[in-house]
């Protein structure tokens, strides 16, 4: 028996107790991220990474989602999320973009930062200097928490307020949170923006462009108050009388409160003053002297969006640098085809409704300007080579839109656009000159110039883009927001509001509001301001959200249910090409529930306190 024991001992000695101890001690842990100044700052960079890619032309939540743009006939909805929004195929089971999940992930990351930042130690600077730096970082994290909540609010209406870090092993009320009412959300987000503003800088150096400043926080906050005062969220008993939490609490106010417009006015004014104090002003083109004021205005508005980090930009998106040929690159997708094989695709164009929206050169809506032959807008004047609709329009029309026989300025030269089927930039045709509809092309017969940097270039062999930060918020918006709030609150424009609106119009090379329209008041004034904003911010992702908050979207988009409008890109002659054509396969479908994004059903299932948005 002894010997057996010896054998057993022998066997056992072969089995080291540490045999299963495989995990090395140096596996990365979260604490490693907060060891020093550099890694902690890098963590903060990571907190920013949840800002949605505003530059992503295919998958984004604002750009291209209105009926201003139309994609090539054969593009599928699976690759282009904006098409899903346009065609109303956003559903709770497969929501188009997971803004909800993304924003809350970002919020968690920020709280994780705030929880751990105190552990960090300086590397190269003194503790005192480091404390200042840390205070700024904390403000940035708070700003981001406010901003992510703001994003949620913008898309979903009333959301769940997360005001602290939630541990994974939390339970009960700490874990399962209900939605707060829209106004509670607004107040919370405002307080968070205010907290952030305490230590945010007035300005950031060029190497940190893209980081928030005090003005950014105030500007976003003011926009939030504009939304909160707007009809969709301010006393909307028409849509949302049954929109309640499970305990019955109403999530959107049921009675109109006019003072919300006052609050919006004040906050906007504060933002304007704050930004102007830092040298902010409306952008004008100054790279080369221009004699003709009309031409100057065209250049102002063509360059305004794309001239990087210009004086008008309050906050630009720096998270992505556009690359020629990339499938998410707007300039690649939108610049007309034909000058080079392959990219650019020339697959995103402007619709006819966008084209018609612009004023005449007199600053008056084209259908209202007696000097404009609206009835015959699809005919060609004698001796001309394009239709009357393209003549005598305001400078922004020529800055934003590329039309058949019009100019397209890229690579420092003007080229004529030839957009009929079989022509250089038009729909390709086969050997039998049959139009080949399943090719990338400008389906509506119009190109977009806004957002295309004139320095981007395409030749038969080369294609390059000049990148720019997508404007998240710029001064002109604050000007127009202020005017709108003022008109809503007082029924007229005060001196500041008048000044702001006319500044935007002047920069666009059109007469003042009064000079063009006479003295407008009430609804007429508000309508004019709405149109002003839709023109100025065309292709910048504002109109869908504005139409929603104005409670106008459902009616506005109704005519496009069978297809948005364009010219007939399969036409090879003036007679066939220049006509008001319903773009088959490209409907814009907006139902009442579309006013608020659907929350992913999965998230509803996981949180028994969470209620879905109405209609989804």
């Amino acid at each position: 028996m002894k010997k057996i024991l010896i054998y057993i001992t022998l066997i056992c000695s072969l089995m080291s107790c540490n045999y299963l101890e495989v995990v090395p001690d140096d596996a990365p842990k979260l604490d490693d991220a907060f060891k020093n100044e550099t890694s902690t700052e890098a963590f903060l960079f990571g907190c920013y990474s949840f800002i949605p890619n505003y530059n992503h032309a295919r998958n984004n939540f604002s750009w291209l989602m209105s009926n201003e743009t139309v994609a090539s006939y054969h593009w599928g909805t699976q690759y282009f999320s904006f098409l899903q929004i346009q065609q109303g195929i956003n559903t709770a089971s497969a929501p188009t973009l997971d803004i909800w999940g993304n924003a809350y992930s970002g919020i968690r990351q920020c709280y994780l930062f705030l929880q751990n930042v105190e552990k960090a130690k300086p590397l190269t600077i003194s503790q005192a200097e480091f404390d200042i730096k840390k205070a700024k970082w904390i403000s940035e994290a708070n700003f981001l928490i406010a901003y992510y909540h703001y994003l949620l609010l913008q898309n979903y209406g009333p959301v769940v307020i997360v005001d602290k870090y939630i541990p994974v092993d939390a339970t009960g009320d700490e874990f399962f949170l209900p939605r707060s009412s829209y106004d509670e959300c607004v107040n919370y987000i405002a307080s968070k923006f205010d907290a952030a503003m305490a230590n945010l800088p007035d300005n950031v150096p060029a190497s940190e462009f893209g980081k928030p400043t005090k003005s950014v926080a105030q500007a976003l906050k003011s926009r939030m108050f504009i939304f909160a005062a707007s009809p969709l969220f301010n006393g909307n008993s028409e849509y949302y009388s049954n929109f309640t939490n499970k305990d019955g609490a109403k999530l959107i106010s049921q009675t109109f409160d006019k003072e919300k417009w006052k609050k919006a006015m004040d906050e906007t004014k504060k933002a304007i003053d704050m930004f102007e104090a830092q040298g902010g002003k409306l952008y004008t083109y100054t790279k080369a002297p221009v004699a003709d004021p009309f031409e100057q205005a065209v250049l102002n508005t063509r360059w305004q969006m794309v001239d990087p980090w210009n004086v008008e930009l309050i906050w630009g998106y720096s998270g992505y640098k556009e690359v020629a040929g990339a499938t998410e690159s707007f300039q690649t997708l939108a610049m007309p085809r034909g000058w080079k094989t392959g990219t650019p695709n020339g697959g995103i164009g402007a619709t006819l409704s966008a084209v018609e929206k612009f004023y005449t050169k007199n600053g008056i809506p084209a259908d209202k300007d007696p000097s404009f032959d609206w009835a015959n807008r699809f005919t060609i004047a004698t001796g001309d080579n394009t239709i009357k609709l393209h003549r005598n329009r305001e400078p922004r029309f020529y800055a934003y839109i590329g039309f058949d026989r019009g100019d397209y300025e890229v690579g420092g030269i003007k080229r004529q656009l030839l957009l009929k089927a079989g022509e250089t930039n038009g729909l390709p045709v086969n050997a039998q000159t049959e139009p080949q509809i399943n090719n990338d092309h400008l389906y509506s017969g119009y190109a977009i110039k806004k957002g295309i940097h004139p320095g981007s270039n395409v030749t038969s062999t080369l294609f390059s883009v000049t990148a720019y930060p997508y404007p998240i918020i710029r001064l002109a918006e604050l000007y127009l927001n202020y005017a709108e709030a003022c008109a809503e609150y007082t029924g007229a424009l005060n001196a500041d509001a008048t000044k702001y609106v006319n500044a935007v119009r002047a920069r666009a090379g059109i007469p003042t509001l009064v000079a063009s329209n006479g003295n407008l008041t009430g609804t007429a004034l508000i309508d004019a301001l709405h149109r002003e904003k839709m023109i100025e911010f065309m292709f910048e992702g504002h109109s869908l959200y504005d139409l929603k908050r104005w409670k106008m979207a459902e009616a506005y988009y109704a005519p496009d249910r069978n297809g948005m409008r364009g010219l007939y890109s399969q036409g090879k002659t003036n007679a066939t090409f220049y006509r008001d054509y319903t773009l088959i396969g490209r409907p814009f479908i907006f139902n009442r529930q579309t006013n608020l994004f659907p929350i992913n059903q999965k998230y509803i299932d996981k949180n028994h306190k969470l209620v879905q948005n109405p209609g989804w």
Partner: protein, 1066 residues
């Protein structure tokens, strides 16, 4: 000559006219091996012999005799032993034996596999008649870390003879379905090198990971690929351990069942036995899915456009349709059957095996060489210098060499080397099949004729397709171009070596043996992929020259490159096993006791951990360590008790959670051994009732996407997971830390509580029945936590936890019937049924809006979708029905769904579990083998039931790209065909009301097929046979092979295989 019976040990039988005395010694040595290695119970041989090396053998008298069966046929190879001595003999081909005995009063013990052992008083010229023992109670069954006599087995173990696994396929697992009771197996395709069946022992009891069985070949843990490559000729024993009693030894790793395979050994033979087989097979698809022709396609496409928008213009002109219909120029009017264009109708394959066994008293050997040449059906392009068809050559070398150092010390060295030389396509075959779905027949010809002596292939295409091309305009998918534009050369080798030593420790304690096994396995693979970018051209017209020759006008769609570019990648892993077994067995009168304890450690490492973020974790070894033990007690060979335990650890869990204890208990009652049973024994020759209970674990933890998780208890942190950029020139960038998965505190293995009740019955000594019913409750299934509100920000980083529960219950039955009809005619009938039904009990399911959305209470792998109520009849029907949230415009002829929640909207909340699950719940098989004189004939039917597929990716004109299936072309909805099998056509869309998973697309894929049929003729040492596989299939599902399980039939098909083989034995 007595015919062979399909018994596991049968293959050990020596069919030579060699010297019997030597055989006798060989057998003795073999028995000694068995004794010293596996103590738990005896082999038949061990029962009959006791080999005393040191004793002096007296040779007093010589006794001669013959052994015959009940029909009077002599039985060769029967072992005769004088009781209480070491005197042994073996019968020759005439059944004659001569034995030296100590006295006239000696008792002879006569034993032979498949027959009842007899004890007879020795008399000269004795005639012994052996009686068949259909129950095979004396057979040896390989169990975990040892062997047991079948009579004493109380666990649920299926064994199958190598002969029954010998089917004309080079892949072992394809022989499982219907042949092995307790295995659910389905073959999902016949692609050479990837045609192995998916198999699950007693179905699937977990939703975490692949639920695959643990496989041991000669005690060395092996992969399914290793097993599949094992030639059936080398297999000695094949055991399937099904219940907890059989698998508890494997503790934390045995819950999904265990396969034990032992390979053959040599013996003390005076002459080497050589066995060879050469086989030539032809394979051809069982059933391909049929595509519509160009004319049907174009007409249907135009109809799809016009039926929804009468003012739109049709895509194809009548001129083109007519041209195609009249078979005009195939380049200008293409009408391509892509499957026909890409694939040959059959392929030829070769198989050869040569094995030799022999040995002496000091050493024995078994050597096998195997060559396998499998070819795919892909065509080669004449312009290519290379061939991208699948050509898989497999070489297997196996050597088992035993050396007896001393009578108490033995060493066995095993080498198993497998080389695979594979040639195939640059991309996966599945990708080519997927492209066929997107290759309509009438758009372009696969290849255009070269007109300007181009040295490259001009592939057909069209401008403006959906795929961005590197240069030029976007293109359509041309599957032929994808197939022939490159090739793959892959070489892999798997080498396993083991040394197995055993030491008899009877000097310490009688019956005690120590055995050690050290093994090493290395797998390495090199892959070289080469390809060129195809040149795509569009035909824009044609001209006819003076001679009447047609010249096509080509327009470049995308420029290619005729030079091949290469990429290379490697993979590999290695496995190291250490195993000690201490065995003890002893009989005290009526009491048989045995005990076994084993230590096992295992380390598997990745040879190519890669260079990405996971490389570091991938480089760490996977380790297991543990003890296991078994205690058995038998009383009077009637009552059997057994206890097993495993105590195992895994490196994958936190300290303190690493080890687990897995016990099992089992008992058996061999009623037929009771005295009172004797009157019944003519009818019920043998009856045993077994029962077991135990706990087994499954330490394999997987993420929901099927990748193994290392260290689930740790937070997974990527220190550079989240990046952002600032600056006027995007110059300020930093990447911050990100938790990619939260750690699961207290993560452990899943735990299966298994219960089994079995019966082994033998009637009239002809029919044997083995039946088991079982139930398993698997809990602590590892899964990612579900119920975490998204608002916490924990969405994709959910920690894992042991939260899942699955119940699995079913039965398996094995039937075998042997009948020697006449002296020359023998038949054996076999059948198995395996039924396994699992039910999801818990999975941390979120609170769902409607109870019917829940997956709890339903089988795993279930189908989920809407319930279709046919097609909308008319506009009123559409208006009066619930509105579809899937499409804005619904017309008559679209699919009408049931509004389960009555909210007036058809959406995802109206889905529920429908039909039977994807993995079949029922597998059965039955067959016959018979022999008449020199002819033999056999067939085997295999069936599968309670299984369904959800057809998807079948919809034509999807985004204007996909092709049209013939069964849709023949029966789609039109005003004049309102009850069509396919709803109203639509084009240029990829998501539609009609495309939703629903009962409309659900198909029952139960089938019965003639799996195998074989006719053979034996002449002397040669046997020539012809066999066929998958010859007939009966199923209600007609569109493609029901077994492949494909959602649209576009996958490498299952094959009908015809083979002609010659077998030699000398």
């Amino acid at each position: 000559m007595k015919l062979l019976k399909p018994k596991p040990k049968d293959i050990n039988r020596m069919r030579t006219k060699s010297d019997h005395a030597k055989n006798q010694i060989a057998f003795a040595i073999l028995s000694f091996f068995c004794f010293s290695f596996f103590n738990v119970s005896f082999t038949k041989a061990a029962d009959s012999y006791t080999y005393h090396v040191n004793s002096v053998i007296k040779r007093d008298i010589t006794i001669k005799g013959t052994v015959k069966d009940e029909l009077g046929s002599p039985i060769p190879g029967v072992s005769i032993k004088e009781k209480g001595t070491s005197n042994t003999a073996i019968t020759n081909d005439q059944g004659e034996f001569t034995i030296k005995a100590t006295s006239e009063q000696s008792i002879l013990v006569i034993s032979y596999l498949g027959f009842s052992t007899q004890e007879i008083k020795a008399t000269n010229n004795i005639n012994i008649v052996l009686k068949e023992d259909a129950a095979g109670l004396d057979e040896v069954v390989v169990v975990g870390f040892g062997q047991q006599k079948k009579a004493s087995v109380v666990g649920a173990i299926s064994t199958i003879s190598a002969k029954d696994l010998k089917v004309p396929t080079s892949t072992l697992s394809n022989a499982f379905a219907g042949r092995v009771a307790g295995i659910i197996a389905v073959q999902r395709g016949g692609e050479p090198g990837a045609d192995g069946s998916n198999f699950y022992i007693r179905g699937i009891s977990t939703f975490a990971g692949p639920a695959s069985a643990l496989i041991f070949i000669d005690g060395i843990e092996s992969t399914t690929a290793d097993m599949n490559a094992l030639p059936s000729e080398v297999i000695d024993n094949f055991s399937v351990l099904k219940d907890a009693s059989a698998t508890a030894l494997y503790g934390a790793r045995g819950a999904n069942g265990v396969l034990l395979i032992t390979t053959k050994r040599g013996g003390d033979l005076n002459k080497a036995i050589i066995n060879a087989r050469i086989e030539n097979t032809f394979s051809t698809p069982t059933q391909l899915v049929k595509m519509a022709n160009g004319v049907d396609y174009m007409n249907a496409f135009n109809y799809a456009i016009l039926n929804r928008n009468p003012t739109a213009s049709p895509r194809f002109s009548q001129e083109k349709i007519n041209g195609t219909m009249n078979g005009l120029d195939p380049i200008l009017y293409p009408n391509v059957d892509w499957q026909d264009y890409l694939f040959k109708e059959y392929s030829a394959n070769q198989y050869a095996n040569l094995n030799v066994k022999g040995g002496s008293q000091k050493a024995d050997y078994f050597v096998s060489a195997n060559f396998n040449n499998n070819n795919g059906m892909l065509k080669k392009d004449p312009l290519n210098k290379f061939n991208s068809n699948i050509r898989e050559k497999q070489y297997n070398l196996l050597a088992n060499v035993g050396v007896n150092l001393t009578p108490q010390t033995k060493i066995v060295l095993r080498l198993n080397s497998r080389l695979e030389d594979y040639g195939g396509t640059n991309t996966s075959i599945q990708n080519i099949y997927n492209q066929i779905f997107y290759a309509p027949p009438a758009l372009f010809a696969p290849v255009l004729p070269n007109q300007n002596n181009e040295d490259y292939i001009l592939f057909g295409n069209l401008n403006g397709g959906p795929i961005p091309s590197g240069s030029g305009s976007n293109i359509y998918r041309n599957p032929y171009a994808t197939m022939v534009s490159g090739y793959n050369k892959r070489f892999s080798s798997t080498n396993t070596a083991s040394i197995d030593a055993s030491q008899d420790l009877k000097f310490l304690l009688p019956g005690l043996t120590l055995k050690g096994l050290l093994s090493f396995r290395n797998y390495a693979r090199t892959n070289v992929l080469r390809n060129f970018t195809p040149y795509y051209n569009e035909v824009s017209g044609s001209t006819t020259d003076a001679q009447g020759n047609t010249n096509y006008i080509y327009k470049s769609v995308s420029r290619g490159n005729s030079a091949l570019t290469s990429t290379t990648n490697n993979e590999g892993n290695r496995l190291m096993n250490v195993n000690f077994v201490l065995d003890w067995l002893k009989s005290y009168g009526n009491h048989d006791v045995s005990a076994m304890v084993t230590y096992l450690s295992r380390e598997q490492s990745n040879n190519t951990p890669g260079t990405d973020a996971n490389a570091f974790r991938n480089s760490l070894p996977v380790r297991n360590q543990g003890f296991a033990g078994r205690l058995t007690y038998g009383y009077k060979s009637k009552y059997f008790f057994e206890g097993n335990f495993g105590y195992n650890g895994s490196e994958n869990f936190a300290k303190g959670d690493r080890f687990g204890f897995f016990p099992s208990l089992a008992a058996g009652y061999l009623i037929s051994n009771e005295e009172f049973w004797q009157p019944l024994s003519k009818v019920v020759s043998s009856l045993k009732i077994r029962g077991s209970w135990g706990i087994v674990g499954n330490a394999a933890v997987y993420s929901s996407d099927g990748t193994a998780i290392k260290f689930p208890y740790l937070d997974n942190v990527s220190l550079t997971g989240l990046a952002y950029t600032f600056g006027d020139t995007w110059q300020t960038t930093a990447s911050g830390a990100q938790i990619t998965t939260l750690g699961a505190t207290g993560a452990i293995w899943e735990r299966g509580e298994k219960m089994n009740l079995g019966i082994d019955l033998s009637l009239f000594n002809k029919l044997t029945v083995s039946a088991d019913v079982y139930k398993e409750n698997r809990d602590d299934i590892f899964m990612q936590r579900e119920v975490i509100p998204a608002e916490t920000g924990i969405i994709t980083i959910n920690p894992y936890a042991n939260l899942g529960k699955v119940k699995n219950e079913g039965f398996d039955v094995n039937l075998s019937y042997n009948q020697q009809v006449t002296k020359n005619f023998f038949i054996n009938l076999r059948g198995t049924i395996t039924y396994a039904k699992n039910t999801l009990i818990a999975r941390d399911e979120p609170q769902l809006a409607y109870p019917y959305l829940s997956k709890i209470g339903h089988p795993l792998n279930h189908q989920f979708g809407l319930i279709a109520d046919g097609l909308y009849k008319d506009a009123a029907d559409v208006t009066n029905s619930a509105k579809s949230a899937y499409s804005n415009v619904i017309l008559p002829g679209d699919i009408k769904y049931r509004d389960l929640n009555n909210d007036g909207i058809i959406n995802d909340n109206d889905r529920t579990v429908i039909g039977t699950p994807y993995v079949p719940q029922l597998i059965y098989g039955f067959g016959l083998t018979s022999k008449y004189k020199n002819f033999d004939f056999g067939f085997f039917f295999q069936g599968s039931g309670k299984s369904s597929i959800m057809m998807s990716s079948i919809h034509p004109f999807n985004s204007d790209q996909s092709t049209l299936f013939d069964f849709i072309a023949k029966d789609y909805w039109r005003e004049d065909n309102p009850n069509a099998a396919y709803p109203r056509l639509i084009n240029n869309i990829n998501s539609h009301n009609n495309f939703q998973p629903s009962t409309f697309w659900l198909r029952d894929v139960s089938f019965l097929r003639l799996k195998n049929m074989e006719v053979g003729y034996t002449y002397k040492n040669y046997r020539l046979f012809f066999s066929g596989q998958n010859l007939l299939t009966f199923s209600d599902f007609k569109h493609w092979d029901p077994e492949v399980g494909s959602a649209n039939g576009l996958t490498y098909p299952n094959l009908k295989v015809y083979s002609l083989a010659l077998q030699l034995n000398f």
